[in-house]
Symmetry: C2
Subunit: 328 residues, 2 copies
């Protein structure tokens, strides 16, 4: 019997979940919940039912794990504590500094209703967090570095699109190669924001817009660009659509540290991702944790969890015996 | 109160454990057990008692977790199932194909006596296994690649030293850069043993030994060298001591796989280690798992575990709250 997956919110992430489930024979998408008109929505999975989001609770018996595909700004802080009352849930809440508060809210509702809620799943937070944590436990007293990219930042692309005269835009975050090399060499450099990443923008203007002003507005935009070296390219909509339609991303988590009685030996632990599709990879991580949520619920566990709490084997469709024989 | 660590066997790994414990303020080494004359052994930790290995069981109340630092060929298959009767234990058993049998033996003794035994801890098996497993769960249907090095293989160095006329030797395993690049590019190449790694040997001969014969014997040695492109350098003992006294190692675990409804997007997950000291890094991983063993034992858990079974947070000295706030 497969694990029945429900999808709340059918955007890039929701479609990514469908694709990930297709790669996992022990899972199936049984329901998609949407705030749009259900009639207008045609999931890739022909057997999945489409329901209004408002009626989700009525369908709790059709779903083993509900995957919440909303945004972290306003959707998930409301949705995760609400839906965990009816379902085991997994979300990808990624506002790092609000995680403790989100955890507390989800945990309370999940404990009261005996469900499992795994929050902040994906790659950062998610796999990057896990690698930071493992590396910290192995090399206490070391130095942590996280680099993002090369990849598309949706937030920065959106910020450019809000500028007057801009029709469309895509922004890439790029790690500075020299900074990466200095970190890998074990030099433990202190790096400023500017020294770690550069930003590259591809911008389509409205006809007759003032490119010089737009470039200036981008480069001086507070919190988004002012602390970075930013390059701006003006291109046509055709070029943007042809060359920049993907959503690649990735990055590097590096920890350096020393061992030995007098700290005489150095070590470098590095984890990196190179992703063609940020939402599809995130969804693939989420699906593995949906399996874990289901196993934990089957055991009678309840409450909120993060990637730090889940035994790795729970993510796998293989048995403990198979894992030890083939992957240990 | 700190976690009291016992060390069974005081070689490179045992000394590495002492150094790792020094970096973890919540742990202390209270006892070292040895098959040598205890009087002849002087641990780096001045407060640690030294006892004969044969009397270990008598000192079970002085130790919370016993770390077994023997070899996988003959020591650990005997020692781990035996000592887990008296202690919570961690070992670094690394004969991959005998892991299922070792697990069963340790599990039986651990369950009968209500202890925790975590086996096969280190980096391969260990951190590399974990990364293979996580990546497999995230990208089912992908391809796995593990490369080792650049690093010293003790087994291959020993094999060279057994050749007639050889006084001393050190062997390095080196990943082939072109193979690594082909894998990272997502080409999913089928690589032969010869295409993945080369072997480089630094050999000190007895006076008057036949170098041509020795080189030939090395390069044709079954299972060790015959399937590799091997380079042999003859050097003096002084050069070997000066330039090749370290025990560096490391390697790469890479998984490539695709996502999307039609597998249209590719992804590369890479984990790598660059280690100045193989035994000290292994010991550092072991110490983090000793903390986990202690937490599991405190909860009343019993039986055999591997890195696949241990929730990541158990490795850390930080609380769940601190972990979520600082590393998620």
């Amino acid at each position: 019997m497969s694990i029945r997956i429900g999808i709340m919110g059918y955007g890039n992430l929701g479609r990514g979940v469908e694709c990930a489930v297709k790669h996992n024979p022990d899972m199936e998408v049984t329901a998609v919940f949407t705030r749009r008109d259900p009639q207008s929505l045609h999931p890739l999975t022909s057997t999945a039912a489409v329901y209004p989001a408002a009626e989700a609770a009525q369908h709790k018996d059709e779903v083993d794990v509900l995957i919440l595909c909303g945004g972290s700004a306003t959707d998930l802080p409301e949705q995760t504590p609400e839906y965990v009352k009816y379902f085991n849930v997994v979300d990808s809440f990624d506002t790092h500094k609000r995680i403790p508060e989100h955890f507390a809210n989800v945990n309370k509702a999940a404990e009261e209703t005996s469900h499992i809620g795994i929050i902040s799943v994906g790659w950062d937070p998610g796999m990057f967090s896990l690698n930071r944590m493992y590396a910290n436990a192995i090399l206490p007293g070391g130095h942590d570095y996280t680099f993002w990219g090369k990849g598309v930042s949706q937030g920065h692309s959106d910020a450019i699109r809000r500028i007057d005269g801009v029709k469309d835009a895509k922004q890439y975050t790029i790690p500075v190669p020299e900074a990466l090399e200095a970190v890998r060499s074990g030099k433990n450099p202190d790096l400023t924001t500017r020294e770690k990443h550069t930003r590259e923008c591809f911008v389509v203007c409205e006809e007759g817009a003032d490119q010089a002003r737009i470039e200036q507005e981008i480069k001086t935009m507070k919190n988004y660009f002012d602390e970075y070296d930013t390059t701006v390219h003006f291109i046509s909509q055709e070029e943007l659509d042809r060359d920049h339609s993907g959503i690649p991303h990735g990055g590097f988590v590096i920890r350096t540290g020393s061992t030995g009685w007098e700290d005489e030996n150095s070590h470098v632990i590095e984890y990196s991702l190179k992703l063609d599709s940020n939402p599809e990879f995130t969804s693939s991580v989420i699906c593995a944790y949906a399996r874990a949520a289901w196993k934990m619920a089957q055991e009678g566990q309840k409450g909120c969890r993060t990637v730090f709490d889940v035994p790795p084997a729970y993510l796998s469709a293989l048995s403990g015996e198979e894992l030890r024989r083939t992957l240990l």
